[in-house]
């Protein structure tokens, strides 16, 4: 009986999702995307005389530059000039959080792929050939590639950070069960299909315009100004869209734009610098690998009483965003669970890898993997199913996070219970057990993965945005914000907001490029909060304009502005349609000399965080959800497939259901990729071995789960989310963590001697070795 009830509930919910998808707004760029007419940096029309640039980078991970001979390269026909640090008029410094990263190496190199010089030539082909002719002599120094090694040698980016709640040391004394262990999660290549690139053009008076594939136009502008020794107003940065970002273009789009600008500065000619894939893979940082240790203590009834963890973050050769990423690891170290006694510490370890950087989840996934490992280990030791421990410790209303924020409007239990009920998880579990009983060559595994993810930049001052809205005199609308469109659909959401406030069709609205001369001093499009921040600013600007329009209409129609509303391009008085159309209203507003432009500034209220105490209220709200992942492992070959991923996700009140579902599905695939096939490999000398798409594999259409179901959690949403539609970019990535544990459970079903290991990714190699380990 229960099963039937549940199934009909599932059917109803699935139907609702399908209906919503049919009606929901499509990404506004869809039309030009599918026709190949959308423009990316490499597609912009270039000016006559444009030069092309290629970066010469370090062929060693650590050493002193004894000598570089550029003479042969310079002599090659078509080579215009080669730039090094000596050509920098301002500061040779591109570090964002900490000033510890030169644009070009001076006397030492710190990672394999570190930029040393920029070759500028008539064509990219010539520049590449010239690169082969450069001779460099490096006196090698010892190379550190792992965080552990760095810790042993005392090599750190900054001081360690620690969060604590209660007294974990004391609490362990009251624990029935205590488990300790080690985990490793590897890095991850962003693999935006559009590689890094920028195009710089000289304007008059020594001004420079840069078209960049960046998530952070202001970061580019600020850094170009610093390196060239110019005022920021001389630098204009324009972004149409990105062919994928995922955090990889938050900070690391900057150097290429700076290099192109530097060459333009000297040559007074346009310069294009687009990294080819191999250069991009070798020179840019990735998701941080983490080596961690944990200690978890539970009571008899499986309550986690105490948790301690030390996270060693492999930061690479410079700070980049590592300190902020390390911080978020601590924020999410207990995932969806309430643990009363917590001590967590993170160390940003300086190594000789390219500086690792932002990647969807921003340190959160690495933290969550550790507590999920701890739970799996504890469950194995106690002899219970991990989901019993997970379920016994889910966060509740008014629980305190280790950073002091009180949990409000918590949906952890709601999403967990909904997933259990809607998908009938008990019967799923039975099916898996039944299958495993009857099959030897194949085994199935199932795992639950709850998520809780905080929304806001954890650096409070970054939580702001502006929108500039013009209503043109024909009634069409142009909107500029700080948001960078990279496929996440933020421009579509902003358009929806304006269309909703003015009640005009979306064909009357244009979202402009993101440009530092229209919207200045912006935060990057990151932290899942781009739509919240820029959407709220847009909403404010549109509402201000609406108020003014209402006054004009009320004067014209001799009514109070309180009675005025706009609907489907007409003015309504007391709910009755008048003759006054949207376009006429705009003409009248113009004639009355009332401004048709508005600039609004939004700063997230309520949030604060005190780094001296490591306590505060850093997040506007949290996003919740639960995934159930089922896998089938081929025990002959060590390969695996995912049968299904069944999710209940907290969208709040989703304003763009198709776009938001796309974010969940895409993030899930990336999360599974990180946990399974995506394997970054460096050798001991610090050379990247997974240096091409032939050696670094991301999910293809055949490797994704056969079935992905995402049912929205029934909730009220949150006022600090734009139109109560919660941020959706990062949180679903962490559902993918369940993939690791599902596979591990299948391995356990085949090999009773298997000792649990927490070493991601779970490649087919690790699976096969584990299946036959003794």
């Amino acid at each position: 009986m229960h099963k039937n009830k549940s199934n009909s509930e599932l059917d109803t919910k699935q139907d609702a999702v399908l209906t919503a998808l049919k009606q929901s707004i499509k990404n506004l760029d869809s039309y030009t995307h599918v026709r190949g007419e959308s423009l990316y940096v490499d597609d912009v029309n270039i000016r006559q005389g444009t030069f092309h640039a290629v970066v010469f980078d370090s062929p060693k991970a650590h050493g002193k530059i004894k000598n570089i001979d550029f003479s042969k390269a310079k002599a090659l026909e078509g080579v215009e000039r080669i730039f090094t640090y000596k050509d920098i008029p301002g500061k040779n410094e591109i570090g964002g959080i900490i000033a510890d990263e030169p644009l070009f190496a001076e006397h030492e190199v710190h990672f394999w792929g570190m930029p040393i010089a920029l070759i500028v030539a008539k064509t990219e082909f010539i520049a590449r050939k010239a690169r082969e002719l450069i001779e460099i002599e490096i006196e090698e120094l010892s190379v550190i590639t792992t965080a552990k090694e760095a810790k042993a040698k005392g090599s750190f980016i900054n001081a360690p950070r620690s969060f604590s709640l209660g007294d974990s040391k004391k609490a362990f004394k009251d624990c029935e069960y205590i488990f300790e262990g080690e985990t490793f999660s590897n890095g991850q290549e962003h693999l935006y299909i559009e590689a890094q690139g920028a195009y710089a053009e000289p304007l008059e008076n020594g001004n420079i315009k840069i078209t960049s594939s960046t998530q952070g136009p202001t970061a580019v502008q600020k850094t170009v100004a610093r390196v060239l020794g110019l005022a920021m107003h001389k630098i204009e940065v324009d972004v149409t869209r990105l062919g994928g970002g995922f955090g990889g273009k938050e900070d690391q789009a900057t150097p290429w734009a700076v290099m192109a600008a530097l060459a333009t500065y000297h040559l007074n000619q346009s310069v294009k610098l687009i990294l080819n894939r191999h250069d991009d893979l070798r020179m840019t940082g990735k998701r941080h690998p983490y080596e961690s240790t944990y200690k978890i203590g539970l009571t008899k009834d499986l309550k986690i009483l105490a948790y301690e963890a030390e996270f060693l973050q492999n930061s690479g050769a410079a700070a980049d965003l590592s300190p902020a990423i390390a911080e978020r690891t601590l924020f999410h170290a207990t995932n969806s669970y309430f643990v009363p006694n917590v001590t967590t510490t993170v160390l940003s370890c300086k190594t000789n890898l390219p500086p690792n950087t932002a990647f969807r989840g921003f340190g959160g996934p690495q933290g969550m993997f550790v507590i999920e490992s701890a739970i799996a280990n504890a469950a194995h030791g106690i002899g219970v199913n991990p989901r019993q421990i997970q379920e016994a410790n889910l966060l509740d209303e008014n629980d305190t996070f280790s950073y002091g924020q009180i949990a409000k409007k918590v949906e952890a239990k709601n999403s967990w219970n909904s997933a259990k009920e809607i998908y009938n998880s008990d019967s799923l579990q039975r099916e898996v057990e039944e299958f495993n009983k009857n099959n030897n060559a194949f085994k199935k595994g199932l795992a639950f993965m709850p998520i809780t993810f905080g929304i806001s930049f954890t650096n409070t001052p970054m939580n702001h945005a502006r929108a500039l809205v013009h209503i043109y005199l024909d009634g069409s609308v142009g909107i500029s914000t700080a948001a960078v469109e990279m496929g996440q659909g933020v421009n579509t959401k902003i358009m929806q907001i304006a269309a909703d406030v003015f009640s005009i069709p979306i064909s009357k609205i244009k979202i402009e490029t993101t440009n530092t001369t229209r919207v200045a001093n912006t935060s990057p499009s990151a932290a899942s909060s781009t739509a919240d921040l820029n959407g709220k600013a847009t909403l404010m600007a549109c509402n201000s304009l609406l108020d003014r329009l209402k006054i004009v209409a009320s004067e014209d129609l001799h009514s109070s502005e309180k009675n005025i509303s706009l609907k489907d391009e007409y003015v309504y008085v007391n709910g009755k349609k008048t003759e006054l159309s949207w376009t006429e209203l705009i003409s009248k507003t113009m004639l009355k000399r009332v401004a048709l432009t508005e600039n609004a500034h939004y700063a997230t209220p309520e949030i604060h965080f005190d780094k001296t105490k490591e306590k505060g209220h850093p997040f506007a709200y949290h996003v919740y959800g639960t995934a159930i992942i089922t896998t089938t492992v081929d025990c002959t070959r060590g390969t695996y497939e995912f049968d299904s991923v069944k999710i209940v996700h907290d969208y709040g009140k989703s304003m763009s259901k198709g776009i938001d579902l796309g974010q969940v599905e895409g993030a899930l695939a990336q999360g599974i990729g990180w946990m399974t096939m995506e394997e970054i490999a460096y050798n001991d000398e610090g050379k990247l071995l997974s240096n091409a798409l032939s050696t670094y594999k991301i999910p293809d259409i055949f490797s994704i789960p056969k079935e992905v179901e995402v049912i929205p959690l029934d909730t009220e949403g949150h006022e600090l989310a734009i139109l109560k539609s919660k941020a959706v970019g990062e949180p679903p990535l962490m559902y993918g963590i369940g993939a690791y544990f599902a596979i591990q459970n299948a391995i356990k079903a085949f090999n009773p001697n298997y000792n649990l290991k927490f070493h991601a990714p779970m490649t087919p190699e690790k699976v096969l070795m584990s299946l036959y380990s003794k």
């Binding site: 869809s30 050939k129 935006y192 299909i193 579902l661 895409g666 050696t695 293809d700 994704i704 070795m769």
Partner: protein
């Protein structure tokens, strides 16, 4: 002059025939819908269609333009995403991508649209699995593919499960623009003479050479042979199959008779790269590439194939493929010599063939270990055996001793376990980015066992092997 039709425009160019089709399209023709993702055929963002006129009918195939020499476009119809666009409205594949939210950042999207259009134009059966194969070489980092699957379903639905689709029908159903109808005439009209070929590196499909040494090929001359008909074709005579070295993996895939004789052929070939690459990659190229892990090489080694080698004076010699390889990337081929074909005996009722491959990602990836086996069995006795294995030696390895051991033995679990002992002595895997040597050893054993559980499911099962090995 290289002459071809690009979308609806005749191109005559004296450009170097070795530059990539991608660079020509993007930077000389300013058709920027074709994107650069990886320049090694591994992402599909640069997918275009190649139409070849045969007996007044055009056959279209998708390829990755980043590793295709411009000269190979000579006499062909090349279709980019712009060439699939209708005026002021979306074509059916585009509409399906849009309606199902199958585009996010948009960078991979034109590649998917072109592949799906290629599927509509191809003579494959219009079912969902074939549609997926058509986009198997397209990588998307944003969507997680579920929306793209829905788009593929919608495309299949619109094609109504018909096999042959005329231009007229496709035009009426908004799959392609109207100008396609004039392409056969246009292609006849340009009447291309064979290209004057310079001396230089011999290139057929170019699918490996352009990954390894594109700049070098652009700088030096290339001698293109992909269009040389005498090197093409698959013929079956007297239980023997001869495959021209210029034949592509797709030619094998499409061969009706071979698919009957080797019922799992497509299952095996599906493990070999992607449809775009299978449309270009030649067998000869795979053999002389001499990769220790070359899929087709391992495949033909297990079939105990022979190859014909022809020199500049057209003198032929024939050797066993297993004797061709001498060391890492070295082989028995003298200056001026070319492999012209591969010959093998076709399986009969008493013979069995299997191919196994494991890599990080099942499709469009290079194997950690791959292996082929050919067995002739009568009354539970192995009369003949040929086992090959890749990724565990400097050369694509024919397992001489393992094969010899199996010959004459009873087909029992113990025989197979004993044979594995010999196999393990014959291989010498090294640790690299495709796996540790321990892993490759274990995987070699497992794939060897897998041959038998696949071919003789009644007699052999994993449990017995594992318990006794």
């Amino acid at each position: 002059m290289i002459t071809f039709i690009l979308n609806n425009k005749t191109i005559k160019t004296s450009e170097h025939s070795g530059i990539t089709l991608l660079d020509f399209i993007r930077y000389e023709q300013r058709l920027t819908g074709t994107k650069i993702g990886c320049r090694e055929g591994d992402c599909g963002a640069c997918t275009v269609l190649v139409g070849t006129l045969r007996n007044k009918i055009i056959e279209y195939q998708s390829i990755t333009s980043c590793i295709s020499p411009l000269g190979n476009a000579h006499g062909k119809h090349i279709v980019t995403v712009e060439g699939t666009n209708l005026k002021n409205k979306l074509n059916t594949a585009q509409e399906a991508m849009k309606a199902n939210y199958a585009t996010q950042c948009g960078f991979c999207t034109p590649g998917f649209v072109v592949s799906l259009t290629g599927f509509a134009l191809s003579n494959s059966e219009k079912n969902y699995n074939n549609a997926l194969d058509a986009i198997s070489g397209n990588i998307c980092r944003c969507t997680g593919y579920k929306s793209i699957e829905k788009a593929a379903h919608q495309v299949v639905e619109k094609l109504q499960n018909k096999k042959v689709t005329s231009f007229k029908r496709l035009i009426d159903n908004r799959f392609i623009p109207e100008y396609f109808e004039s392409i056969p005439q246009q292609l006849e009209a340009i009447q291309t003479k064979e290209l004057n070929q310079p001396k230089g590196k011999i290139v057929s499909g170019g699918t490996d050479l352009y990954v390894q040494q594109a700049d070098n090929l652009i700088d030096n001359g290339v001698h293109l042979i992909a269009d040389k008909d005498y090197l093409k074709g698959i013929s079956i005579k007297n239980k023997t199959c001869t495959i021209g070295s210029n034949a592509t993996v797709t030619d094998l895939w499409n061969h009706v008779e071979l698919n009957q004789l080797l019922p799992n052929l497509r299952k095996h070939l599906k493990l070999v790269s992607s449809e775009q690459i299978r449309n270009m990659a030649s067998f000869g190229g795979n053999l002389v590439n001499a990769s220790p892990i070359g899929d087709m090489t391992i495949f033909f080694l297990a079939l105990n194939s022979e190859i014909t080698i022809t020199n500049l004076e057209d003198k032929e010699r024939r050797i066993a493929l297993k004797n061709f390889y001498q060391g890492y990337k070295t082989y028995d081929l003298k200056d001026g010599e070319l492999i012209t074909n591969i010959i093998f005996n076709l399986p009969t009722n008493d013979t069995y063939f299997n191919f196994e491959k494991v890599c990080k990602r099942t499709h469009l990836d290079i194997a950690s270990v791959n292996s082929g086996i050919y067995l002739s069995v009568e009354n539970e006795t192995i009369l003949e055996a040929h086992v090959s294995i890749g990724g565990v030696a400097a050369i694509p390895k024919y397992l001489q001793e393992t094969s010899a051991f199996l010959k004459g033995k009873l087909l029992t679990t113990q025989t197979i376990i004993d044979a594995n002992q010999i196999l393990q002595k014959e291989i010498a895997p090294i640790s690299d980015v495709r796996g540790s040597s321990d892993y490759k050893r274990l995987l070699a054993r497992q794939l060897f066992f897998a041959h038998f559980t696949e071919l003789f499911p009644k007699q052999c099962n994993l449990n017995d092997f594992v318990q006794h090995a």
